[in-house]
C-alpha cells in the first residue's frame, strides 16, 4: 500500500469516499509525519494535534452519516498569520507571543466548514516580512530539500518566505495542503523553491478578515498544495465575498476544478521580455523557455508581450508595503494584547515594548514606511509609488489585450542557504522581483513546479491571469503541470 502522505488531496478525498481509510488514519499519519518533520524543519510554531484527532473523529462521523464536506478529513497546516479561535496566533512575532484570539478568520472558518483538519500553525517570516523564513521569532524554517543531495548536504536551505512553514509542511509531506498569504510573493516564491503549487488569487477573492495585516492593499490569502487540482479545490473553498472585509469581491466564486483538464488550444500565452533580467541563472531562463514550449505543444499560442514598468515594481512595492505596514503595526503597543514591556512613561512603554517585541526586519520596514509617509516626503515617495502602481496595472491591462495568460519565472534562484542573503536586505528583496508586480496590480498568479535544477533543487514557473479569471489560470496551470510531469520528493519527508 502506498504511504498515505504520497496521496494528493484529490486522491485522499477519493480514498476517504471509498472508505479505503479513515480521516483518523490519515490524520494520525500526518501527525506522525509532522512530529518527525518538525524536528528537521521547524515548520510549525504551534501544533494542535489533539484538536486534530478530535476533528478527524468528527469528520469520520460526518462521512459515516453521509454529509461529509468538500474537503472533509483533509489535514492542513494554517499559516500563523490567520487568527484561530482558542489557538495561539503569533504572526511569528515575539510581540504576539501568547496571544490567543477569541475569533476565527473567515478563510480558516470556511476551511473548517469544508471539513479541513488543522494540524497546527505554520511558521512564517515575522509579520510575513521576508523571503526566507529567517525573520521568525520562533526560529528559522529549514527546507525539506536540505540534506541528502551532495550539493546541499552540508547546508541548511531556506524554504522561501514568508509562507515558509506552509511550504515546508506541504513539500515535506507534513500536511496535505496549507494556507498561505501573499503580499509580494509570499505564497509563490516558497512554492517555487520547494517544488509545490501555490496560488495567489485576484485581490479581494478571499476575505482578509482575521488575517493579521502586513500591507492591506497587497495582502491576499491563497492555497499551497502539491497539485494544481488540489489548489483549485482548496481555493474554491477559501474564496468568497465577506461583508466583514470591505475590499472582498462581491462576485460568485466559480468552481475552479471545472477548469482542470480543459484544452489550452488557442490559448494565448504572453512572454514578457522585461522578465528576462540580468543576473538570473541561465537555467531558469531555459526552464522558462521549456514551459512555453510545453504549452505550445499543448496547442497554446505563445506571443511576446511587453510590461514596460516592470523594473519599477520592486521599488514601488518597497514603498507601498512598508508604508501600510508602519500603520498596520501601530496597534502593537502593549496596551491591549500581546507583549507589554513597562516604562516610566507612555512613550517609554511604547519604545520598550515595540523595541523588544519586533525583530530587525519588521523594525526596518516600519522605519521605511514611516519615512515615506512623512510630511515633505509623502509626494516624492508614497504618492509617486501609487502612480507607478497604476502604470504597472495598465501595463498588464494592455498586455492582456494580446494574451490570456502570462508565463514568467517565479523566483530568481533555487533555494539558497540560511544566512546567505542576510547581510544585504536589498539582495533579499530581489527574491520578489517576479512576483510583486501581481500584488501591485491585484492579479491572480499560480506557481507550478517544473523540474529539479542541476543542483538537485526544484524550480517552478509562474502563470499570471487576468483579474477575476482564475479559471483560465487553472486551465493553463493544469496543462503545464501535466506536461512537466514533476514528481520529485525532497530528501526529508515526514
Amino acid at each position: 500500500m502506498t504511504d498515505l502522505t504520497d496521496l494528493s488531496m484529490t486522491q485522499a478525498l477519493a480514498g476517504l469516499a471509498k472508505k479505503e481509510f479513515t480521516a483518523t488514519e490519515l490524520t494520525d499519519r500526518y501527525i506522525k509525519a509532522s512530529i518527525k518533520g518538525q524536528a528537521a524543519t521547524n515548520a510549525y510554531i504551534t501544533t494542535t494535534f489533539d484538536a486534530a484527532r478530535e476533528a478527524a473523529k468528527a469528520s469520520d462521523e460526518r462521512r459515516a452519516a453521509g454529509h461529509a464536506g468538500t474537503m472533509d478529513g483533509i489535514p492542513i497546516a494554517m499559516k500563523d498569520l490567520y487568527c484561530t479561535k482558542g489557538v495561539q496566533t503569533t504572526a511569528a512575532s515575539k510581540i504576539l507571543e501568547g496571544f490567543v484570539p477569541t475569533y476565527e478568520s473567515t478563510v480558516s472558518q470556511k476551511l473548517a466548514d469544508a471539513g479541513c483538519i488543522t494540524l497546527g500553525k505554520a511558521n512564517l517570516d515575522e509579520f510575513a516580512m521576508g523571503s526566507s523564513n529567517t525573520t521568525s521569532a520562533y526560529g528559522n524554517v529549514v527546507s525539506p530539500w536540505s540534506g541528502e543531495d551532495p550539493a546541499n548536504a552540508a547546508r541548511k536551505l531556506v524554504p522561501g518566505g514568508s509562507s515558509g512553514g506552509s511550504a515546508a509542511a506541504v513539500a515535506g509531506r507534513m500536511a496535505l495542503a496549507a494556507t498561505g498569504t501573499d503580499t509580494g510573493g509570499s505564497i509563490r516564491q516558497p512554492a517555487a523553491i520547494t517544488g509545490i503549487v501555490g496560488i495567489k488569487p485576484t485581490y479581494g477573492r478571499c476575505s482578509r478578515f482575521g488575517i493579521i495585516a502586513y500591507a492591506s492593499s497587497l495582502d491576499q490569502a491563497g492555497a499551497m498544495t502539491r497539485t494544481v487540482a488540489d489548489a483549485a479545490l482548496m481555493l474554491r473553498e477559501m474564496a468568497g465575498h465577506d461583508p466583514k472585509d470591505s475590499t472582498s469581491l462581491n462576485l460568485p466564486v466559480p468552481d475552479f476544478t471545472q477548469a482542470l483538464g480543459q484544452s489550452v488550444k488557442g490559448l494565448r500565452i504572453g512572454i514578457p521580455r522585461e522578465y528576462r533580467i540580468d543576473g538570473i541563472p541561465a537555467e531558469i531562463d531555459t526552464i522558462w523557455g521549456k514551459g512555453a514550449q510545453m504549452l505550445r505543444e499543448a496547442g497554446a499560442e505563445v506571443v511576446d508581450i511587453t510590461l514596460p514598468h516592470t523594473k519599477y515594481a520592486l521599488p514601488t512595492y518597497y514603498i507601498i508595503a512598508p508604508a501600510e505596514a508602519s500603520s498596520n503595526l501601530a496597534r502593537y503597543d502593549g496596551v491591549r494584547f500581546g507583549l507589554r514591556e513597562t516604562g516610566d512613561s507612555l512613550t517609554e512603554m511604547y519604545e520598550n515594548t515595540r523595541g523588544s517585541g519586533f525583530g530587525v526586519e519588521v523594525r526596518r520596514r516600519i522605519l521605511m514606511g514611516t519615512y515615506v509617509l512623512s510630511a515633505g516626503y509623502y509626494d516624492a515617495y508614497y504618492k509617486k509609488a501609487q502612480r507607478v502602481r497604476r502604470l504597472i496595472r495598465q501595463d498588464f491591462i494592455g498586455a492582456f489585450e494580446k494574451c490570456d495568460v502570462i508565463l514568467t519565472p517565479s523566483a530568481p534562484s533555487t533555494a539558497f542557504a540560511i544566512g546567505e542573503n542576510e547581510d544585504d536586505p536589498i539582495k533579499m528583496y530581489l527574491e520578489d522581483v517576479f512576483t510583486v508586480t501581481l500584488n501591485l496590480a491585484g492579479l491572480p498568479g499560480i506557481v507550478v513546479p517544473m523540474q529539479l535544477c542541476a543542483n538537485g533543487l526544484p524550480m517552478g514557473m509562474q502563470l499570471i491571469g487576468k483579474p477575476f479569471d482564475e479559471m483560465t489560470l487553472f486551465k493553463a496551470a493544469a496543462a503545464l503541470e501535466s506536461a512537466a510531469g514533476y514528481n520529485a520528493k525532497p530528501p526529508f519527508v515526514g
Binding site: S216, D245, S246, S327, R331, V335, L373
Partner: protein, 484 residues
C-alpha cells in the same frame, strides 16, 4: 462690528471654528458596537474598536446618510466620491495607532450657515467642508496613582467634523454660528447637539489684524472648548492676549492652546514644531466611498424644514417680526410648540405669549420647552379666549399663572373664577356710574381740566369689577360719561 481696542488702535478678530458633532446613531462608524453615551468603561467595545489583529472596518451606512443629510442642511456640495484616510499617531486611547478620517476628499464640500445676530441682522459664514471620522477613546488618569486606565466606549463613534471659513469677527458671531449649527443638526436629527455630554465639541481658530488690513495674521487653535459661553470667553481672552503681544512688538506663535475653564485663560499645549506628523494616507482597508446621486436626491426630498426656511415661513404666514421668528425657530421644539399654539389663531399674539410669558416662566422654573407644564394646545386655548374677547390681556396673565400652577385649561379657569370679560354696555355703564357718583369731587376736577384723573377712574372701575370689563369699551364709555 466688535473691534478690539488696543493701545495703538483697533484690531479685528478673524475666527474660524472646527466643530466635532457626534452622529446620532445606534452603532459606531466602522463597527456594530453601541454608540450610546455612558455605560460601564469598555462595555461598548468590539474587537474592531479595540484594534485587534486581523480586524477590519466596515462603514456604517446610516452614519454616511447622516453626514449627507447634514451636508444638504448646510446647503453644501455633496461629494459623490470621498476617501477615508488614516491619521497616524500613537496614543493609549487610540487603539489602532491611527484614526480613520477624511483628509483630501471629504464627503461634504463647501456650504454656508446664516447667522442670526442682534437686532434681526444676519450674516453668512462659509462652510469649508464636513467630513466623517472616528472618535478616540478616553484616558482615565484618576483611577490609580501609578497607572492610566483606558475606556474605549467612545473609540470608533462617528463624528462629523464641520470646518468653517475664517468668516467670523467676534465671539458673539462665533456663538451665533454654534447656535445655528446646533439648531440645524437638531432639526435634522443627525446630532443631538449636546455640548455638555460632548456630542458637540469645538476648536477655535483665531488671529488678529488691524482694522482695514486684508491679510490674515498668524492664528492659534484653541482646543476642546465645550460650551458656547466658554467659546465666547476663550475668544475674548485670546484676542486680548494676541493684541497685547502684537502691540508689544511680538509675534504670535502658531500653536495649539487649551482653554482652562477654571482660570478662564488659554495656555499653550504644543507648538507648530511639536505638532504631530499625522502621515495621512488612504486607508487600504476601505474602498473609496461612492454615493449614488439618486440616493442623495432621495435624502434631499426627505429633509425636514430647516430653521432658515421655517423663519421665513413664520414671517410670511404668521406675520411675525424677524426677531420673534428667529427666537422661535432657534430650537425645533419651540418652533413646533409655536405652531401648535398659533395654528388657526392669531400668530403674532401667540408669538408674544410664547416669547415673553411662557419662555420667561420656563426660564424661572429651569425647564425646557419640552417640559412645559402648559401644552401648546392649552396655550392656544388661552390665546383664543383673548382673541374672541372672552378675557382681556390683563386677566389672561392671571389665567396663565393659574394654568402654570394647576395645569387646568384656560376656559375652565375662566369659568370657575368667573373671569369672563363684561362686554354688556349697560353693565359697564352701571359700574361707571357707581364710581363717578362715589367720586363726585374728582369728577369735578377732571371736568375742570385735570385730564390725568382719567387713569384714576379706569383703575377704580377695574378694581370694583375685578378687571373683567373690556378695556376698550370701558375707555370709550368712561370718556362719554365724563363729558357730562
Amino acid at each position: 462690528m466688535a473691534y478690539v481696542q488696543g493701545q495703538t488702535g483697533e484690531w479685528e478678530m478673524v475666527i474660524g471654528l472646527e466643530v466635532h458633532a457626534q452622529v446620532t446613531s445606534q452603532a459606531k462608524l466602522f463597527s456594530g458596537a453601541s454608540a450610546a453615551f455612558g455605560g460601564a468603561p469598555n462595555a461598548h467595545v468590539s474587537l474592531v474598536d479595540a484594534g485587534f489583529p486581523g480586524m477590519l472596518p466596515v462603514i456604517n451606512k446610516y452614519c454616511v446618510e447622516q453626514a449627507v443629510r447634514t451636508g444638504l442642511g448646510l446647503k453644501a456640495q455633496i461629494n459623490l466620491t470621498s476617501v477615508f484616510d488614516r491619521k497616524n499617531y500613537f496614543y493609549a486611547d487610540l487603539p489602532n495607532g491611527y484614526q480613520i478620517s477624511q483628509f483630501t476628499q471629504p464627503i461634504v464640500g463647501k456650504g454656508e450657515i446664516i447667522l442670526d445676530l442682534e437686532g434681526g441682522k444676519s450674516r453668512t459664514v462659509g462652510i469649508t467642508r464636513l467630513h466623517l471620522e472616528q472618535d478616540a477613546g478616553k484616558s482615565m488618569h484618576d483611577q490609580s496613582p501609578t497607572e492610566t486606565f483606558v475606556d474605549l466606549n467612545r473609540a470608533g463613534v462617528a463624528l462629523m467634523e464641520v470646518v468653517s471659513e475664517p468668516d467670523m469677527r467676534s465671539g458673539e458671531e462665533a456663538a451665533a454660528y454654534l447656535k445655528k449649527l446646533r439648531a440645524i443638526v437638531r432639526y435634522l436629527g443627525s446630532c443631538d447637539g449636546n455640548m455638555e455630554e460632548g456630542s458637540m465639541r469645538c476648536d477655535v481658530n483665531i488671529s488678529m489684524r488691524r482694522v482695514g488690513v486684508e491679510t490674515l495674521g498668524t492664528r492659534c487653535e484653541i482646543k476642546n472648548v465645550n460650551s458656547i459661553r466658554f467659546v465666547m470667553q476663550a475668544i475674548d481672552y485670546e484676542a486680548q492676549r494676541q493684541v497685547e503681544i502684537l502691540e508689544g512688538g511680538g509675534e504670535i506663535k502658531q500653536e495649539t492652546r487649551l482653554w482652562d475653564t477654571g482660570k478662564g485663560i488659554t495656555r499653550a499645549m504644543r507648538s507648530k514644531e511639536e505638532a504631530h506628523d499625522y502621515r495621512y494616507f488612504p486607508d487600504p482597508d476601505l474602498l473609496p466611498l461612492v454615493l449614488d446621486a439618486a440616493w442623495v436626491e432621495d435624502i434631499k426630498k426627505t429633509l425636514p424644514e430647516l430653521p432658515d426656511e421655517k423663519k421665513q415661513r413664520f414671517i410670511s404666514q404668521y406675520g411675525l417680526t424677524d426677531y420673534d421668528a428667529s427666537v422661535l425657530v432657534a430650537e425645533k421644539a419651540s418652533a413646533d410648540f409655536f405652531e401648535t399654539v398659533a395654528k388657526g389663531r392669531d400668530g403674532k399674539l401667540a408669538a408674544n405669549w410664547l416669547t415673553s410669558e411662557l419662555f420667561g416662566a420656563l426660564n424661572k422654573m429651569g425647564k425646557s420647552i419640552e417640559e412645559s407644564p402648559i401644552s401648546g394646545a392649552a396655550l392656544g386655548g388661552l390665546i383664543e379666549l383673548i382673541s374672541n374677547d372672552t378675557i382681556s390681556g390683563r386677566i389672561a396673565k392671571d389665567v396663565f399663572a393659574e394654568m402654570l400652577a394647576s395645569g387646568k385649561p384656560a376656559a375652565q379657569i375662566v369659568e370657575e373664577k368667573g373671569l369672563r370679560q363684561v362686554t354688556d354696555m349697560g353693565a359697564i355703564g352701571a359700574e361707571i356710574d357707581k364710581i363717578l357718583a362715589a367720586n363726585a369731587d374728582k369728577v369735578a376736577e377732571y371736568r375742570a381740566g385735570k385730564d390725568k384723573l382719567f387713569g384714576f377712574f379706569v383703575g377704580q372701575v377695574m378694581k370694583a369689577t375685578g378687571g373683567k370689563l373690556n378695556p376698550a369699551m370701558l375707555n370709550d364709555t368712561l370718556k362719554e360719561k365724563l363729558k357730562g
